[in-house]
Subunit: 356 residues, 2 copies
């Protein structure tokens, strides 16, 4: 089962604040059951079923979250949880995981996949990945580009270039998060795809790319590669990993490499970026409400109500987010979902670290 | 201390739904710390300090609430908790309590006072009651009339008549809850006062009034009076009380008696009728919010946020009520406070009796 030599690397180093009070420092977004009734990270591994077996799948995360990862993903071998000594953005994390894959299988195909996203159409997603794997085998660093459904200003974009093989295209350029007018132009043009942070590449191709585009990182990485599987491994990783520049894979490699390709995908993808996004990924009632838990929604529309075990009664409200995390609650307008960070800032100011 | 022969009767038979999820069948409004950090019924007894000692004070309530009353008011002698065999509106409850007072002191002055109201200016309130007591000694049934501060449509009104003695007036008529236009006329006229359900009378005067205006009630009441203090008391009360018509004291006596007087009072009275009313009786922050508990209000104004022990973060909201009762939560617009009953109805329909 699965393509031979395919190694998913699930990126679980994130620690955001956008889902407070559900998310905490000790319980980041990827461990929350936001899009379905299973944690996002569990859905992420399940989504790869058939492409690669769990024994070929890796998770990269911080040391504090490793026990939670092992508990959430019991089919994953213990040693496939790769611990970052510190959070240093995506390039070092991907480098470390790629070293592990190359140690097993120098030409192995790596699928880098964030642990905290949602995909509605899994067959379409797998079809796109299968196409990306084929392009990666030929030596490209391939990214999945999501066909945009709205002029989203919260994502980076990928402008497609010349056709390559099948649906795959060269990448013309990576574009930063646009303003509204630019996002609308992107949407109308049909030339832009959302950058979902999904990359597919051969391990040796990426190691070569690091050598060319991130020599400082590559030097530390080669030291680590020399120690993998030896008694020195832990010490060398701890010493060398912090030397890698804390850069994103987009900035460090993807925007610079010439062998970058993109496979467009229409797979019902969402980055589940805020409570607002739950209305995209969860079933809605007749009034457009999302309700998780034994809640009572009366005369209310467009609300996102996330409870735990006790009922939340929401009466006569429009477009509001209500969340009960058991030990803290949140109420805010759906359009201001991103203002959750103001709560986290206030908790820090008041030194209410218990709730962070 | 206190006027001789004065007997407060605190009416605690109520069981409303307007404060769900704080209020429940087993924990009605009078036991909630709504206006201050002490339960309304505790504040009610404290408000009478100096007018009558606890040993002369009575509480009328249902059997299920008697233990809570005794616990909340430990200075009250056990036997001063008068248990109604069933809830039958205010006339039977007042009749039963008046019988108890008359048994001790036939000419004793009874102060009937609801257990679930708030008074901001206690000295003004006591001054009004002292005046009412004097008028009651002369043989009148006296009600306290609250000087209106707004065209409230949720209260009954009292139209004042001719001057009696001091500030006391005869009552021209009792008026039902008015519509908005009528309430505005009432306010402008200066002739109308709010009916707060506060009555002061001599026990013998009220017994006589029952005889004239509610003969059926009076007959049952005389049977009870004959048994008070004997071994038959409990049995007779249980048998006779349900025979009394379930009528309000306003309709049964006050609107019919000719010896009705009113003492106008400006004492910062509130019936604390809904969560909305907490903004009248609780301190407000600079943005007009009421917050009870360790809450975080950010970019929010005009909100009423009632927590328990855990923080409620309210961000960017206007004029909303948020309540956490520990085992259930409520969110609704402040202007729709009365829609709490819709939740209670829904809980009944869904047979979620645990939360009723």
């Amino acid at each position: 089962m699965g393509s031979p030599g395919v190694y998913p690397v699930i990126m679980a180093g994130g620690s955001g604040t956008r889902f407070w009070p559900l998310s905490r420092a000790s319980r980041p977004k990827q461990f929350l059951s936001l899009a379905t009734n299973r944690p996002l990270i569990v859905e992420t591994l399940a989504r790869l079923k058939g492409l690669a077996p769990p024994k070929q799948s890796f998770v990269v995360c911080g040391a504090v979250h490793a026990p939670m990862v092992r508990k959430a993903l019991p089919t994953l071998p213990r040693q496939n949880v790769v611990v970052e000594p510190q959070a240093r953005n995506t390039a070092p994390a991907i480098a470390l995981a790629t070293a592990h894959v190359a140690h097993r299988d120098p030409h192995g195909i790596v699928i880098v996949i964030p642990s905290d996203q949602h995909v509605a159409d899994v067959p379409a997603f797998q079809a796109s990945l299968t196409e990306a794997i084929a392009v990666a085998r030929a030596g490209h660093i391939v990214t999945l580009g999501i066909e945009p459904s709205r002029p989203e200003t919260g994502y980076g974009y990928i402008q497609v270039g010349e056709p390559l093989t099948g649906a795959a295209r060269r990448v013309s350029r990576f574009a930063e998060k646009p303003d509204r007018a630019t996002a609308e132009q992107y949407l109308v043009s049909g030339e832009y795809l959302w950058n979902a942070g999904l990359f597919v590449f051969r391990a040796d191709v990426m190691l070569e790319a690091f050598k060319h585009h991130m020599p400082e990182l590559s030097q530390a990485l080669e030291a680590i590669r020399g120690a993998l599987g030896t008694k020195k491994e832990a010490g060398v990783v701890k010493r060398e990993f912090p030397k890698m520049p804390a850069t994103s894979i987009d900035y460090g490699v993807a925007e610079k490499a010439s062998n970058i390709a993109v496979v467009p995908s229409r797979c019902g993808w969402s980055d589940v970026g805020s409570f607002n996004a739950l209305a995209e990924v969860r079933p809605l009632d007749d009034a457009g409400n999302v309700s998780v838990g034994p809640n009572l929604l009366i005369d209310s529309a467009g609300c996102v109500v996330v409870g735990k075990d006790k009922p939340i009664a929401v009466v006569g409200m429009r477009d509001v987010v209500v969340v009960d995390a058991g030990d803290a609650m949140l109420v805010l307008p759906k359009a201001n979902s991103q203002d959750v960070r103001k709560v986290v800032e206030a908790l820090k100011t008041k030194k209410l670290t218990k709730y962070l």
